[in-house]
């Protein structure tokens, strides 16, 4: 099995639920994209509808700092 590099991983550990589908979110594969650059990550995802959750800490922390860095490229 090929080892994939993930820039960030969050495991919801059964604490989050998809409101629409009524199922717990699981750790799933997702991708951040900005200004023509992409980053594979693992985030809480709904196994049914595919809703990807970006928690506040992640948005304001890691995501914001990567955004700033890319903006100045």
């Amino acid at each position: 099995m090929a080892i994939e590099k993930n820039y960030y991983t969050i495991d919801p550990q059964g604490k989050l639920k998809c409101f629409k589908c009524g199922v717990p979110l699981i750790k799933g594969k997702a991708k951040f994209m900005y200004l023509d650059n992409g980053f594979p990550v693992e985030l809480p995802v709904c196994p049914v509808c595919g809703f990807v959750y970006v928690p506040e800490e992640l948005a304001l922390g890691k995501v914001a700092s990567v955004e700033r860095a890319l903006e100045d490229k």
Partner: protein
């Protein structure tokens, strides 16, 4: 809703050149790094500022180290130096120039020599010999030793004592003793009691890489030798030597000769790459107002240590920091402003990689204060503005720092835009243009002013609520600026091309770039037609803050003062007024691109006085009020209105819409198209606070909730709160909320610009 296209990629590998003359011309205007006048006058280039600072601090050891950089034998130089520095000392213009040489003498006498002698240094490989004795030979040997050459002196004298006496017979006994000790401490090889003849010359030439000699010996052994004065070099004979008269000249010649040796050992032409030698002209600017002691400490028999400390303490450390004193932005980056300018220009020329100067480039408020306070008219606003436009032209400019402001401008010129002739008129003689910030911050004042102008001016007064375009200009978005200009021109022509009554100095300035537009400030008109009834100044002394938009516009500055006077305002004097006024932090979009620096700018404005502030730009009024200062716009006083505590970002939008709708209804009897929510929205205090801080609008939150109402997509967290999201323009907004009664209570909100999606696999 309006949108702005985000740049497509970070992989843009082209730049648009900025002219080299532009860059060099601007950088050269800043004299920050010009030497102080004393150092400039010194052919040996003593760092007099640092030297005097050390001496003033009583640190004679450090002062001596600095002096030894130019003087291998400090007592010899200070005894005979002609001190050209003293005549150039700026203190001479208001009193007596500093007695630099006397301080040097004291330092040479009392300064402790640093123990780390030459023996610990790695020596150079190439060897040098100095033939003969005398002042030049001694000083040259000293210079070469300082440069770590293995030096051999070949002389007739039997020992060091005699050698030193031949060179410096003018030293008194104490000085002689000290210099002898110093000479013995130096890593110089001596061959004493030599017979200086042609044979010795030839033999030495064989044994060393470079040959130097006293001028006396050169002439004796090589009659007719010609020395090139700039090089102190007899090219034909290949002897480093030349005539000198006096201590100063010998010291300077020794310095030049040592540089010639440097070139010769590398087999280079000694004429090349010598840099600037000797005294130079300085353009440094010095503010003499801080000089305290104007007279010299009397010299008498030479300074004692204490006297030298006192005299050195008179040095005002000439530095040009005029712009740093007044501009919080330049102070924040605290470096040579010319260099900062160069780095910002260079930043635009980076083909690939990080643009580390984006932040400073976008933090300048483009206010033009530096150009006024700089003795040479250094213009950072131009640098940063050109750089921003340049980055926009190559699509390298990040949108994020300016997007909120640009969207706000689009909001002003779309949803919140209004252009109507005065009721009862088809076209008008005037149009009142209060500016987007006035409508956002003080809508009641705008309304009162408009009604008053309609009532008192003949020929009809139209109203135009919108943004003048300064925002896109500041952002460097020149195409948007062009579009805005065309748009406003079209709207103005529909109103019959009226005379614009500007309510904001920045609008006035921006609109002046339109061709054929006639513009007056509302302040000028009010002076002309008289103040409205009920106009009243503050009953306490107030500080008037001049708007950066009115820089260079004395007429406006005067008009505001006259209005204030007529209303009975007592204005207190503040430093940095009129053309020298600092920017509140809103200009140039600093507040959006760099909150920290913008905050420092606001502080800088407020530190001038403890009194309430009166301003004539709504953005200034707002920023001062946000800082907790009592702050009023001159129009609020004219119309007896009080805009109260500053609105948050969403209220600023709501105010504009409300003003437009109210006026449409009341004056033009039009039913505005208002979107009414069909459900109730409640907020926690924390949600409101974080939205303002994170630049998230009520409208953004509503967009998310509308989306949720349509598709039901959300997640439920541990506490049972729901989190929904929606992409609006270039950002994704997240809202944490709970259903409450007929609607929702919003708890938190956040956003990011990256897109996120599920990945297969």
């Amino acid at each position: 809703m309006a949108q702005i296209q985000e740049r497509g990629s970070t992989h843009v590998y082209k730049v648009n050149k900025i002219s080299k003359e532009e860059v060099d011309g601007m950088v050269a205007r800043c004299v920050y790094e010009d030497p102080p006048f004393c150092s400039a006058a010194c052919p040996l280039k003593l760092d007099a500022r640092a030297f005097l600072q050390a001496a003033a601090a009583g640190s004679f050891k450090k002062a001596l180290q600095l002096y030894e950089k130019i003087a291998p034998f400090p007592l010899i130089l200070s005894a005979g130096c002609e001190a050209p520095c003293e005549g150039k000392c700026r203190l001479g213009e208001i009193g007596e120039g500093l007695a630099i040489r006397e301080v040097e003498r004291a330092v040479a006498r009392f300064g402790e020599q640093s123990r780390l002698g030459g023996i610990f240094r790695t020596k150079k490989r190439r060897t040098v010999a100095v033939l003969g004795s005398g002042l030049f030979a001694l000083l040259l040997a000293g210079e070469l030793e300082k440069k770590a050459y293995p030096v051999t002196v070949l002389c007739e004298e039997p020992d060091e004592d005699a050698y030193l006496r031949a060179a410096a017979p003018f030293l008194d006994e104490e000085a002689f003793r000290l210099e002898l000790k110093r000479l013995r401490g130096k890593d110089i090889q001596f061959a004493f009691s030599c017979r200086p003849d042609a044979a010795l010359l030839e033999q030495t030439r064989q044994n060393t890489d470079v040959l130097c000699a006293s001028w006396e010996l050169t002439q004796r052994l090589c009659p007719g030798a010609v020395s090139i004065p700039e090089l102190v070099f007899c090219e034909e004979e290949r002897i480093v030597s030349g005539p000198t008269a006096g201590v100063m000249e010998a010291a300077f010649a020794a310095k030049k000769a040592a540089l010639t040796v440097d070139r010769l050992v590398q087999n280079l032409d000694p004429r090349n790459t010598r840099g600037q030698e000797g005294a130079v002209e300085s353009r440094l600017y010095t503010d003499l107002s801080e000089a305290k002691e104007r007279s010299r400490v009397p010299v008498g028999e030479g300074y004692t240590k204490e006297e030298a400390v006192r005299e050195a303490g008179r040095c005002i450390q000439c530095h040009c920091e005029e712009c740093l004193k007044s501009c919080a932005y330049l102070k924040h980056y605290k470096k040579h402003p010319g260099l900062l300018a160069k780095e910002i220009y260079n930043n635009t020329q980076i083909i690939m990689g990080d643009h580390q100067l984006n932040k400073p480039m976008n933090a300048c408020s483009l206010c033009g204060q530096c150009t006024v306070v700089c003795p040479n008219g250094f213009d950072m606003a131009r640098v940063c503005h050109l750089a921003r436009q340049n980055m926009v032209s190559t699509d390298k400019m990040p949108l994020a720092p300016h997007e909120f402001a640009l969207l706000d401008m689009l909001f002003s010129n779309n949803e919140a835009f209004l252009a109507r002739p005065q009721p009862g008129f088809e076209t008008c003689k005037y149009v009142f243009f209060p500016g987007c910030q006035a409508a956002a911050i003080a809508p009641e004042t705008v309304k009162a002013a408009y009604l008053d102008l309609c009532a008192r001016l003949p020929g009809g007064v139209a109203l135009m609520l919108g943004c003048c375009g300064a925002i896109c200009d500041w952002a460097g978005r020149y195409e948007m600026e062009e579009q805005t200009r065309d748009f406003l021109d079209r709207e103005l022509s529909k109103l019959g091309d009226p005379i614009v009554i500007a309510g904001c100095p920045s609008c006035k300035k921006e609109l002046e770039s339109h061709e054929g537009l006639q513009i007056v400030g509302v302040w000028d008109l009010l002076l002309e037609i008289g103040l409205p009834e009920g106009a009243r100044g503050l009953d306490r002394p107030a500080a008037l803050h001049d708007a950066c938009g009115a820089r260079g516009d004395a007429r406006t500055q005067d008009a505001i003062r006259e209005l204030a006077r007529r209303m009975g305002c007592a204005l207190t004097e503040t430093p940095f007024d009129r053309d020298r006024s600092p920017c509140c932090g809103y200009g140039g979009l600093s507040a959006y691109a760099n909150r920290e620096v913008a905050g420092e700018m606001t502080e800088k404005c407020l530190e001038r006085s403890d009194a309430p502030y009166i301003s004539y730009c709504m953005a200034c009024r707002d920023r001062f009020a946000r800082q907790g200062r009592e702050s009023r716009h001159i129009l609020e006083l004219c119309y007896g209105t009080d805009a109260g505590s500053p609105p948050d970002i969403s209220e600023k939008r709501a105010n504009r819409l409300r003003l437009k709708n109210e006026l449409l209804q009341q004056l033009w009897l039009e039913e505005p198209m208002e979107k009414k929510l069909t459900y109730e929205l409640l907020w926690t205090d924390e949600a409101r606070r974080m939205m303002d801080e994170r630049m998230i609008l009520t409208d953004d939150v509503i967009a998310v909730l509308e989306g949720f109402r349509e598709n039901g997509e959300a997640i439920e967290d541990e506490d049972g709160l729901l989190v929904a999201r929606r992409r609006v323009g270039n950002a994704t907004f997240w809202v944490k909320f709970e259903p409450a009664g007929e609607g929702y209570r919003v708890h938190r909100a956040w956003s990011h610009r990256m897109r996120v999606e599920k990945r297969e696999g």
